[in-house]
């Protein structure tokens, strides 16, 4: 321990910049592998996509090897694309239905239910909690096929229930495809909102409720006046998070309906994929992807503003 006992000599006064670099050198090296991977698979592709959106690059053929610069042609085409309006509308319905209404509201409701049940000490509480989590950690492909079975017209469990109570069968994926994919996405994603809300509910001090109870406020009153205002900030964050993650949903819809029937469940992500890989138009597909990224950056910026993460 001799080294510890000696006083550390004061650092010699040298040019500050140089010493700062020496202090941080090791950390810059430590960040390098991650930076390379991120540049390779995130930043690079985003920039490349931006570039490709100004060309007529194709998947195969002459334009694959020698793409031509077409300027804003692809962006002009966006406005004339008859399918694009449908696709945007579908994305909007899907996001509003499954993220904002579904996951957000159901997540809050489940959090309140579980928080209440936990305080009461009901035995089944952990089971219900686990069931919601189970749907969430389930790989997407399994979720897709499980629900293909649930929705099956002749034998599916949903229609079995309907016939049991005397209602006619519904051709879920054929006649109500958007509703069906929304239900599955809510099933899959609600756990996230629920977990965050549960965490937030636990930080509301009990004294507030006690005081309100003494003042004679009923359960509904206490909820509106105290629970909801305390959740406001976290609610905005949850809303933005689930919106962003739902906006990028691809695999689930692809497994369930593949955008069909017709293009009733075609969302932006699927449309970009179809254009690039089925229509062989990399240039135009990239343009759609750029629009998608722009929308996402807008949401993310608001998210960062609101959450103000500690850096």
């Amino acid at each position: 321990m001799a080294t510890l006992a000696q006083p550390v000599p004061p650092p010699p006064v040298i040019r500050r910049r140089w010493s700062a670099w020496r202090r941080n050198r090791a950390y810059v090296v430590g960040l390098t592998p991650a930076a390379i991977l991120l540049a390779l698979w995130f930043v690079g592709p985003a920039l490349w996509g931006f570039y490709a959106s100004f060309t007529n690059r194709a998947l195969t053929g002459r334009n694959a090897r020698f793409p031509e610069w077409v300027g804003l042609e692809n962006y002009r085409r966006l406005f004339d694309d008859p399918d694009l309006a449908t696709v945007f509308l579908n994305s909007l319905v899907f996001v509003v239905g499954s993220a904002m209404l579904g996951q957000f509201v159901l997540g809050l409701a489940l959090a309140l239910l579980l928080d209440h049940a936990e305080a009461r000490g009901y035995r089944l509480t952990p089971l219900v909690y686990g069931a919601v989590l189970l749907a969430w950690v389930n790989p997407t492909v399994i979720a897709g096929f499980q629900w293909v079975a649930m929705f099956d017209f002749y034998y599916g469990s949903l229609n079995q229930v309907l016939t049991f109570v005397g209602l006619p069968r519904v051709n879920w994926l054929g006649e109500a495809p958007m509703l069906s994919v929304i239900v599955v996405n809510v099933w899959r994603g609600t756990a996230f909102a629920m977990l965050i809300f549960l965490g937030a509910l636990r930080t509301i001090p009990t004294q507030i409720y006690e005081a309100a109870r003494v003042d004679g406020a009923g359960a509904g009153r206490r909820f509106w006046d105290h629970t909801l205002p305390n959740l406001r900030h976290i609610a905005v964050l949850v809303l933005l998070s689930v919106t962003m993650s739902t906006f990028g949903t691809f695999v689930l819809i692809q497994t369930l309906t593949n955008g069909g029937p017709g293009n009733q469940t075609q969302v932006i992500a699927l449309y970009a994929y179809e254009t690039a890989f089925r229509g062989y138009e990399i240039g135009y597909g990239s343009t759609i992807a750029v629009v998608m990224l722009a929308i996402n950056v807008a949401f993310a910026t608001v998210y960062l503003r609101v959450s103000r993460p500690k850096v």
Partner: protein
């Protein structure tokens, strides 16, 4: 003493639930309330568990269909068919190789990057942090077209290396951010003492700091494995040769598409599902508390 609002930290979160449970229990639970809560429980359980109930039963049912029924006779034939006729063994092997390697590479990269980000002292440090968070929200489905082009240029299609690299990258932003949090909590005097003892920064990190951050590394490893295990999109665009396909694609084999309608061999899908979900369940429920904390940060679409 300055009168300031107490920071909402450990004091609040830890003390409150206990105090609350006592306070709430004092109110007498009515029968009506009990019935209502359990009615809600029943609905929630039915909604969330029905698909799993179907899968678990159908996997062992020789005549499985889309509805939930208890098999008249239990069989393992479905599993045998899956391995014999649908190359499920190869798919399982590929998934295992890719996920394990992704896990190793991710843990190495994010523990280095998270520590460096935690300790680096430069002017625009928050810019780095913000851009990492921004990357984290970028939907993969928006960049998959250029990723495909890039992988083709670099000859990384149809290879384990390509899949491993891309799966690692997918998890990097979030896990780096998470590991930074874990390293922020490790007191600096630990490594400073090691430096004074004459260890290099790398050795101090490896021998002194890493052992303290072990729970964080565990979570990062688990999450990296799970995400690579469940990932479909990148495999979809990076692989078109059978010998590199991962498990999700075995599912599509068991389903024949006709227009927008699927004709599915349900008993096979269920058997595959059971095998595919087992490692996830084991990993997740074994480390539930830690994982939940980690997973809450994922905001990317799947």
């Amino acid at each position: 003493m300055a009168v300031r609002a107490a920071p909402a930290t450990a004091v609040d979160t830890r003390a409150v639930p206990a105090a609350r449970t006592v306070a709430r229990r004092r109110a007498r639970p009515g029968v009506v309330e009990w019935v209502l809560v359990h009615l809600a429980f029943a609905i929630v359980l039915a909604f969330f568990l029905a698909p799993f109930l179907w899968m678990g039963l159908a996997a062992f049912d020789p005549q499985a269909s889309a509805y939930i029924r208890i098999p008249e006779r239990l069989t393992l034939d479905n599993f045998r068919v899956v391995f014999a006729d649908y190359a499920f063994g190869t798919a399982l092997k590929n998934s295992l190789i890719v996920s394990t390697a992704t896990m190793a590479l991710t843990v190495l990269t994010v523990s280095l990057a998270g520590y460096s980000l935690s300790r680096i002292a430069i002017k625009r440090k928050n810019w780095i942090s913000y851009s990492i968070l921004l990357l984290q929200t970028m939907p993969l489905s928006a960049t998959m077209v250029p990723i495909y082009g890039l992988a083709r240029e670099l000859n990384l299609r149809n290879s384990y290396l390509g899949l491993i690299l891309v799966h690692t990258a997918i998890e990097l932003p979030f896990l780096t951010w998470m590991m930074k949090g874990f390293f922020d909590a490790v007191p600096r005097y630990l490594e400073e003492a090691a430096w004074i003892d004459g260890r290099s920064k790398l050795r101090a990190w490896f021998e002194v700091v890493l052992p303290v951050a072990r729970p964080g590394i565990g979570v990062a490893a688990g999450l990296a494995f799970l995400s690579a295990w469940a990932e479909v999109l990148m495999v979809l665009i990076l692989v078109n040769r059978d010998e590199y396909l991962t498990v999700p694609f075995a599912f599509y084999r068991a389903a024949r598409g006709e227009g927008s309608y699927l004709e599915v061999r349900y008993e096979l899908v269920a058997a595959m599902g059971v095998l595919y979900v087992l490692p996830v369940l084991a990993l997740f429920f074994a480390t539930r508390k830690l994982m939940v904390r980690g997973l809450m940060g994922t905001t990317r679409g799947l």
